[in-house]
């Protein structure tokens, strides 16, 4: 089937030929289907879940607050994201060292959405052969209808995807109402169409080209491979010389290997490569060729696993070492980081303080020999309940504090600004000195936070 193969050699920018992957069933394809349902299910369902009065998962950009179930993250918690990214990167190293491009084959959004688009295509246009025939057929009413139905279903699915995406950033029930009445705001409209359009183009048309030309991970993943990495591989020693044979012939006597050269492994490949030529950078490790070959081997009565997950050492007849220092180190690092992350995020300080000096005057001299500085103290209450705070200051002898009332009430998830006046008897300092503000809740939890500021005084 040469029509499915990407052009080899020759022009660097040869026009792309559409790949029609053939449908295949098998254990790895079942796993991929589960992955698609789990990941897309999560994606489409999450924004509809409620947590008390609010949406359970909502990244509220205008209010600069991220709600994730019980957790509310503030810009001050930004480092948690960095931490998450480090965990994600390590996980990628780990899984790549373990079994190559597992991420590409099972979890990458590009693969997952492409799978769904391929399903829709198959549902409307039929099997691989029917699709190829339809593409070659002259323009007719039936062809337009079929193609039109496919494009319409793709479009509807992509639009729903874009709508869901925006639903993570703006309350999705309100958004649904606005969508129904065509009254979405300019940014909502833009991002629904942008994300929906990207899904439509990437999963409908670009497909494997995204992996080949746009994905940085595809380019550097091989650097994380070693001879003990599980890769999808064709057992050349067992398969060659390949060739067709009549049923029941002793192929060994006819000097033939186990490969019957049926090319099913090529037909099922979503990137259009021939795994028998060895591992290629286009391979996204979807394992379709393993399932396809196993099915054929079963039919012709040969042992399964002519194409299989194996290590380079395994292929050379040496012992496999999937558990090895490299994978152990990655795995333990990930466990430590995740444990640390879980501990910190559940034990983080839910109150915070931000001190800004009053910009209008450096200091004021009061009758009675006092120097006064004015500050704007912001109290952040990231907790789910209201707290009453007291404010204190230290760092200079004879420091007096005045903020109007005895205590400051701050509601859950709110910020309260308080004008605070500090006074020091003249002569206690010259120029300036560092001082500290401390806020403390008046309940038994005694949550507290400290912020630094500078007290200024005349130099003489």
């Amino acid at each position: 089937m040469s029509e499915v193969q990407a052009p080899v050699g020759g022009e660097l920018y040869a026009a792309r030929q559409k790949i029609y992957p053939r449908e295949i069933k098998g254990r790895f394809q079942r796993l991929r289907v589960y992955a698609v349902f789990a990941l897309l299910g999560l994606y489409y369902v999450l924004p509809w879940l409620r947590w008390g009065e609010r949406q359970a998962v909502l990244f509220d950009l205008p209010a600069r607050k991220f709600h994730i179930f019980a957790l509310t993250l503030w810009p001050q918690d930004f480092y948690f994201l960095t931490w998450l990214l480090i965990i994600a990167a390590l996980a990628l190293f780990f899984f790549t060292a373990l079994a190559g491009r597992l991420f590409c084959g099972y979890a990458c959004p590009q693969t997952v959405w492409t799978e769904t688009f391929v399903w829709i295509e198959r549902w409307v246009e039929g099997s691989r052969t029917q699709q190829i025939k339809l593409a070659k057929a002259p323009l007719s009413g039936a062809k337009v209808l079929r193609k039109g139905t496919k494009y319409f279903l793709w479009f509807a699915f992509a639009l729903w995807t874009g709508f869901t995406f925006v639903g993570y950033f703006t309350p999705i029930t309100e958004l649904a109402g606005k969508m129904a009445s065509f009254s979405t705001g300019p940014w909502e409209t833009f991002w629904v169409l942008f994300y929906g359009g990207a899904t439509y183009v990437n999963a409908g048309f670009m497909r494997e080209q995204v992996c080949k030309y746009m994905c940085p991970y595809a380019r550097f993943q091989s650097a994380m491979f070693d001879k003990d990495t599980l890769i999808i591989t064709y057992d050349e020693k067992r398969g060659e010389p390949r060739g067709a044979r009549k049923k029941g012939t002793d192929h060994k006597a006819a000097n033939l290997g186990d490969c019957v050269d049926c090319t099913v492994c090529v037909q099922v490949c979503p990137t259009g490569i021939d795994i028998r030529k060895g591992l290629q950078y286009e391979c996204i490790a979807c394992a379709a060729c393993i399932d396809a070959c196993d099915e054929v081997m079963e039919k012709v009565g040969y042992p399964k696993g002519l194409i299989r997950y194996d290590t380079q050492h395994g292929l050379e007849g040496q012992p496999k070492q999937v558990v090895r220092p490299r994978t152990i180190v990655y795995a333990s690092l990930i466990v430590v980081l995740i444990a640390g992350f879980a501990y910190t995020i559940t034990h983080r300080n839910v109150v915070a303080i931000d001190v800004i000096r009053d910009r209008n005057a450096l200091f004021r001299e009061l009758p009675g020999g006092l120097i006064e500085n004015v500050y704007n103290v912001k109290i952040l209450n990231k907790d789910d309940e209201e707290h009453e705070f007291s404010i204190s200051a230290d760092g200079l002898p004879g420091l007096q504090i005045d903020y109007g009332e005895d205590e400051v009430e701050v509601g859950p998830g709110e910020v309260q600004s308080v004008a605070v006046r500090l006074r020091v008897p003249r002569g206690q300092l010259q120029g300036g000195s560092d001082i500290h503000f401390t806020i403390r809740t008046r309940d038994e939890r005694a949550l507290e936070a400290t912020g630094k500021a500078r007290f200024l005084a005349p130099t003489n």
Binding site: Y13, L61, P62, R64, P75, F78, L81, W187, M214, P216
Partner: protein, 107 residues
């Protein structure tokens, strides 16, 4: 070897400009996404600029984020584009046809 290693055509050519623009647009989009996240994780867009005369783009957060994103995209794209321009319009290396021992022929 007296043959000129390359011929100077007298005008600057940029082969495959269209493809190069696509190569520039995509990575700078990725970089701009990360830059926007990091930048506005630390800086609230409504606090940008002079308090008394806030620039119109930063009066609401959503426009602030968007303007920031497109700004980062533009800057990252300009940098990539300039790099590619210098690479693509450089004089080609002299053809490696010279010596028998495989070393490169002197210019």
């Amino acid at each position: 070897m007296s043959k000129a290693p390359y011929e100077y055509s007298g005008k600057l050519r940029w082969p495959r400009l269209g493809q190069d623009l696509a190569i520039v647009a995509w990575p700078s989009f990725l970089v701009a996404s990360v830059a926007t996240m990091v930048c506005f994780g630390f800086i609230d867009p409504v606090l940008i600029g002079n308090d008394d005369y806030p620039p119109p783009a930063f009066q609401t957060r959503m426009t602030g984020y968007a303007v920031g994103f497109f700004f980062f995209w533009l800057i990252a794209a300009l940098s990539s584009l300039m790099t590619l321009y210098l690479v693509r319009t450089a004089h080609p290396e002299p053809a490696d046809e010279g010596t028998d021992d495989g070393t490169r022929s002197p210019e």
